[in-house]
């Protein structure tokens, strides 16, 4: 491509009649270079990308064609194993099964196929690059608007990039929705949303007892809400009060130290909180409970919720800080001028004025708490338990998604599909919360702008 760039550059200069008369060109020479480079690189890279993406599948299907009939007839899983062995063999690794001549042969042909494919790929890509360069070369002339052509390409690239966010959302919605619909084909929607029992462990054989499993998600929703509620009870007062203290009371020195330290909490990965919850806080609560004669589960909702609350404190406090600082000074002045004390001003003027923003922030935090995964995976329970007692173990939507999908899985079982249905619920709920929260916060901002 660098070569093509140089070529394009030279060509443009030459066509204009040498360096002296560059100004006859429509665009700067470098644009002609870039134009040529684009023509050289883009088609070739596109083909390369597609080739690499589909190479594996195509080669494998050709390889299957080489295998003996008997092998081809076996079920897909075994076939996969055999294919794996062959690939390993070709790569010179140890394989599980004994190596028979047929496999040897297959491995050899696999290697052949791979090298053919690689060679073909090189040739095609190179050829495309050269062709592209030639095409560009031919088109370069003083009148040619290289700049516009290049800018158009760049523009398209920019548009594609900014659409990726949309594509991601679309991807999320489609993938989750698609699998969920398949799930609701097996388990009625109403049973899922209103069912009171959750035990997704289907047994291996269909004729065993309890083979169907139960997919009532209410206990999961309840557990999620319980933990989120505990988290909010911890995070909202502490976060809000510390934001108020920082904004209205703390001296600049204190603030300069305390604020970044508190914000460290926001940068700590959730897996660390999970570790803290599971190995420090949960045992602590259990021992405390023992000392007070209370039975506290070692996976209590309280421990997970409390630690989640700690995680959310900086979130609440920085959002509240923003909205409190957005309350205009004139509002404070009005209150002080009437002889109000600081706390009266805060409680009776600033907080009511900032309330919409604070509520929006809390909603965002709730959505955070509902979607939080690692803390609950590590510190909350695994089995569904419909209770409001924070000392017991409960499980959550995210925990179930993880347990259902981590480890071995068959992709068509109700079990795995259930995870996607849960994912759909999670996505919808958090999305709605976010939309409302972002609306509220924005409305609030506009009010004081």
């Amino acid at each position: 491509m660098a070569l093509a760039y140089q070529l394009g550059l030279k060509r443009s200069v030459a066509s204009a009649g040498g360096h002296a008369s560059i100004r006859h060109l429509h665009s700067l020479p470098s644009y002609y270079g870039a134009y040529a480079a684009l023509w050289c690189g883009l088609p070739a890279l596109l083909v390369l990308g597609f080739w690499t993406a589909f190479e594996g599948n195509i080669v494998t299907s050709v390889l299957i064609g080489y295998l003996p009939e008997a092998v081809q007839q076996t079920d897909p899983q075994r076939l996969n194993l055999i294919l794996n062995d062959i690939k390993n063999l070709a790569g010179g690794n140890i394989v599980s099964a004994n190596v028979d001549p047929a496999m040897q042969q297959a491995a050899a042909s696999y290697q052949d196929l791979l090298s053919i494919s690689a060679a073909a790929k090189t040739v095609v890509v190179l050829a495309l690059g050269i062709l592209g360069t030639l095409w560009a070369w031919k088109r370069i002339s003083p009148k040619f608007r290289a700049r516009n052509a290049v800018e158009k390409t760049v523009n398209i690239f920019l548009i594609v990039c900014s659409s990726i966010a949309i594509l991601t959302t679309l991807g999320i919605v489609l993938s989750v929705l698609f699998e969920s619909i398949r799930f609701f084909g097996k388990v009625p929607f109403m049973d899922f949303v209103f069912g009171l029992e959750w035990s997704p462990q289907t047994s291996i054989r269909a004729d065993q007892v309890g083979s169907t499993g139960a997919f009532g998600a209410i206990p999961l929703f309840a557990g999620t809400l319980l933990i989120a509620l505990i988290a909010m009870i911890v995070a909202v007062p502490i976060g809000l009060m510390s934001a108020i203290f920082m904004a209205e009371y703390a001296g600049p020195k204190f603030r300069a130290v305390a604020k970044p330290v508190l914000e460290v909490l926001a940068g700590v990965p959730t897996v660390v909180y999970g570790f803290f919850a599971a190995l420090t806080v949960a045992p602590l609560f259990r021992d405390l409970g023992d000392a007070m004669g209370l039975a506290v589960s070692s996976e209590s909702a309280l421990a997970a919720g409390a630690v989640m609350g700690i995680m959310i404190i900086p979130f609440i406090s920085s959002l509240s800080d923003d909205v409190i600082n957005a309350v205009p000074q004139s509002m404070r002045d009005g209150s002080y001028a009437l002889g109000a004390t600081k706390s009266e001003t805060v409680r009776r003027v600033i907080i009511p004025a900032a309330l919409p923003g604070i509520v929006g922030g809390i909603l965002l935090a709730v959505s955070r708490a509902i979607g939080e995964t690692m803390i609950v995976v590590m510190a909350a329970g695994l089995s569904a338990n419909l209770t409001a007692n924070p000392l017991e173990a409960v499980t959550t939507v995210t925990v179930q998604i993880v347990t259902l999908l981590v480890g071995d899985q068959e992709f068509d079982s109700a079990k795995t599909l259930a995870a996607f249905a849960l994912g759909l619920m999670l996505f919808v709920v958090t999305l709605v919360l976010n939309i409302i929260a972002l609306r509220v916060v924005r409305k609030y901002r506009e009010q004081y702008e």
Binding site: P252, P328, S330, M331, R332, D333, G334, S335, Y336, A337, L338, G339, A340, T341, E344, R348, V349, P352, A353
Partner: protein, 289 residues
């Protein structure tokens, strides 16, 4: 600022040559006119205000008499608001603001460390340039002061205070049917009168008004001026204004500020008809400002 401190204290004589030219950038070293009155409500002597390094008010001495309206005029940035805010210690809320000098309210030094700002601000209320009603109902806006100070013992008391305050502020007729609507929903002039009602609801002794009409149309302005005239009977009022007509209409005495100094003070009539100081004259005849 190595000026001699005793020079401007009580002297009513000009301390420098009034006829000197290029006055805009000359230091003004004293105040022309009568800064003292017979029955002062508030009395300030040698007030200096600093915002960090900036010397915003220099050596200002001024009395505000019982039941009189004192107007403060002067070009933008000359320190009128700053001086006004000193009078009920609103400058305490500004970080880095330092006030020196003597400020007396009924012979009590309001900057005495023993003085509490809360009762002080009850006695000296303030209305701001931009109306700043709280995001509460009209009723709650007016009820705010009496509530926080515990001035009322029953809801009926409160209703009465709210009603009389709104009546005094001339807003009652307009809002009596929508007391529970947000105060921020009123028009600018109504909001300003609401803020005045809010201030008089705690029955202060002195009311400070910082350009209360700057955001208002002539009709609303006229209403407020009328109001000021009525309020004068019960309160002592200091008002900052950019409108000389307004100063002439509502005030008994006028003080002219220039670049942080009090240049001239006197009977409003005299200031507007026969200013003694060149700067004052220039300002009121519209030569600059």
């Amino acid at each position: 600022m190595e000026q001699t401190m005793n020079m401007s204290k009580t002297t009513a004589e000009p301390a420098f040559d009034v006829n000197s030219s290029a006055l805009a950038d000359r230091r003004v070293d004293g105040t022309v006119g009568k800064i003292r009155v017979d029955n002062p409500r508030m009395s300030t002597t040698d007030v200096d205000v600093y915002y960090g390094d900036k010397h915003a008010i220099q050596n200002v001495s001024l009395d505000i008499g019982q039941n009189e309206v004192v107007a403060m005029i002067g070009p933008s940035g000359c320190g009128k608001s700053t001086f006004l805010r000193c009078l009920n210690r609103m400058n305490d809320t500004v970080a880095g603001c330092k006030v020196t000098g003597t400020l007396l309210l009924d012979k009590e030094d309001i900057y005495d460390p023993k003085i509490d700002v809360v009762p002080l601000r009850v006695r000296v209320g303030m209305v701001f340039q931009k109306p700043n009603p709280f995001p509460k109902s009209i009723y709650e806006n007016v009820a705010y002061g009496p509530r926080i100070h515990g001035l009322i013992t029953s809801n009926a008391d409160l209703d009465e205070i709210v009603e009389t305050s709104l009546k005094k502020a001339g807003l009652w007729e307009e809002v009596k049917d929508r007391m529970d609507q947000p105060g921020t929903g009123l028009s600018g002039g109504q909001q300003q009168r609401l803020c005045i009602a809010r201030t008089i609801a705690v029955s202060p002794e002195v009311i400070l008004m910082d350009e209360p009409c700057s955001a208002l149309d002539p009709i609303a302005t006229a209403k407020i001026e009328e109001l000021i005239d009525e309020l004068r009977e019960q309160f002592t009022i200091a008002i900052v204004t950019h409108s000389m007509q307004q100063a002439a209409r509502v005030s008994q005495r006028t003080a002219y500020f220039h670049l942080g100094k009090l240049v001239e003070v006197g009977e409003t009539n005299q200031i507007f008809t026969a200013p003694k100081h060149k700067l004052t004259e220039d300002y009121i005849t519209g030569r600059f400002g």
